[in-house]
């Protein structure tokens, strides 16, 4: 490196004062926490277009793993978080493979177990993040600023409980929760500038925004997958030109499509159930009078 000898000598002998920008940019926490944050964002929202429901969470899960990996030696909770992220990654890619098999349409019990596992792992991850960050602040003698992680845990927990108890809650409730998520993500992003510096809350850093307010057709929050746990015969079917079936779990009031919808392609077994369902163009697909919709109402034997 002789060609830069003069430059290096000058920079080493006369070091520049540390600028404010460097203090913001250089932090051991920023990179890993940003990865975790983006991972959570990509993993929480689901966009059911252009196969993004598979690619975005896959990227998110890898980011989560990379973020946790850098922090795993900091304290036991962050290490547990890393292990949980490994399990999440293994589960996700297993699901992706299984979805490419005939099991996609059947094996309801198995899917329910996988979805329940997903919910438990996500909760465990939020818990590890909260307790891990708290331990970091305590270790450095700072007042703990891990409230954002606790907020995310509480929101996710609330989402799961609501999915189980009140799946058809209104737009306002879920809209409010989406705003809550965004706020907590923004707060967590502030911490990403590092527990090494507790004046971070007052700085005007740009806030990463998770786009939750996607108003129409086929957007969803992954947390709402928990609805799969309780849904049974409450589906409705979307007959698209009478050929392509799409099963949609819709917890919303008609005629709006939910931003919390979770969609998946119609499987073999699902198709069998509605094989004889008549199709008519007289009614819109969301109209309960549509014979296709009527066919879904469970009939007593």
């Amino acid at each position: 490196m002789d060609e830069f000898r003069d430059l290096e000598q000058m920079l080493e002998e006369h070091p520049l004062p540390i600028p404010e920008e460097a203090l913001d940019d250089v932090s051991p926490w920023r990179g890993p926490l940003k990865k975790i944050l983006w991972g959570l964002v990509l993993d929480t929202i689901t966009i059911n277009h252009w196969k993004l429901q598979y690619t975005l969470p896959a990227v998110g899960i890898v980011l989560l793993w990379l973020g946790w990996r850098s922090l795993r030696n900091e304290n036991p909770w962050l290490r547990r978080g890393w292990l949980v992220s490994l399990l999440l990654m293994a589960k996700w890619f297993t699901v992706c493979v299984l979805r490419a098999t005939p099991l996609e349409g059947g094996w309801e019990r198995g899917w329910t177990v996988l979805i329940a596992l997903d919910v438990v792992l996500m909760l465990a991850q939020y818990l590890c993040l909260w307790l891990g960050l708290r331990a970091v602040f305590q270790k450095t003698g700072q007042p703990p600023r891990s409230g954002a992680a606790a907020g995310l845990l509480a929101l996710y927990l609330a989402l799961v409980v609501m999915a189980l108890l009140a799946p058809k809650a209104g737009t306002l409730v879920y809209g409010g929760m989406a705003v809550g998520y965004e706020t907590e993500f923004a707060r967590l992003e502030e911490i990403s500038y590092g527990p090494v510096d507790c004046s971070l809350g007052s700085s005007n850093h740009g806030v990463m925004r998770a786009e939750f307010s996607l108003p129409k057709n086929g957007y969803g929050m992954r947390g709402y997958m928990a609805y799969d746990l309780i849904q049974d015969g409450d589906d409705w079917v979307n007959f698209n030109m009478g050929v392509n079936y799409t099963r949609t779990i819709n917890p919303w009031v008609y005629p709006w499509q939910s931003p919390l919808d979770y969609r998946r392609p119609w499987g073999v077994n699902d198709g069998r159930l509605f094989r004889d369902a008549p199709y008519t163009g007289e009614f819109s697909m969301n109209n309960p009078k549509n014979p296709a919709w009527q066919a879904l109402i469970p009939k007593e034997n």
Binding site: L7, M10, E12, L16, P17, I18, L23, D25, P28, V196
Partner: protein, 178 residues
């Protein structure tokens, strides 16, 4: 608001303010010192020295020149660098022949101008390159630390550093000849 209050208490010579500053910025100062010194004992001693320096040099801090945080960070960095340099230095007896190394007024002005030129050149670098520059030439971090914290490979860090030095050399041009 809190920062301003702390700053004025510090300037007024409030001992409690130094303690508050150390609670607030202690981890940051440790992070800077830890990157320069490798020996745990040296690190702790240096941190103690910095705590003392903050108190001693509080009069030289001019709020008009900028916030407290970069001032403290630079103070810690310089203390750690001095300590690192002293560790490798052979003990010499003081004689009349040893020149005074303290920079004179002219040298200080030149150094200031040089720093401004370098900062101007650094500002033109892309964000990641700036980050690497700060880590290498402001924080004096090792390549291993950069690799671990940035999640890059050693090769990627080295090649980026090479390119940024190339670019800086071109930008600074004649500065290096003088």
């Amino acid at each position: 608001m809190e920062e301003q209050e702390l700053r004025s208490r510090f300037r007024a010579g409030d001992e409690g303010a130094v303690s508050d500053l150390l609670t607030r910025y202690g981890p940051l100062l440790r992070y800077i010192i830890w990157g320069i010194l490798s020996d745990p004992g040296e690190r702790e001693e240096c941190f103690g020295q910095v705590s003392l320096l903050i108190w001693e040099k509080r009069v030289s801090y001019d709020p008009a020149k900028g916030p407290l945080k970069p001032w403290l960070a630079t103070l810690a960095r310089n203390a750690a660098l001095n300590r690192a340099r002293c560790t490798g230095m052979v003990h010499q007896e003081l004689t009349d022949t040893i020149p005074d190394l303290t920079p004179g007024p002219e040298e200080r002005v030149l150094a200031k101008e040089r720093a401004a030129r370098i900062q101007g050149a650094v500002d033109k670098l892309p964000r990641l390159d700036r980050n690497l520059f700060y880590r290498k030439y402001c924080y004096f971090q090792s390549a291993d630390q950069m690799v671990a914290e940035l999640g890059m490979t050693c090769r990627a860090v080295e090649s980026r550093l090479y390119r940024l030095k190339e670019r800086l050399q071109t930008e600074l041009g004649g500065e290096l000849d003088g």
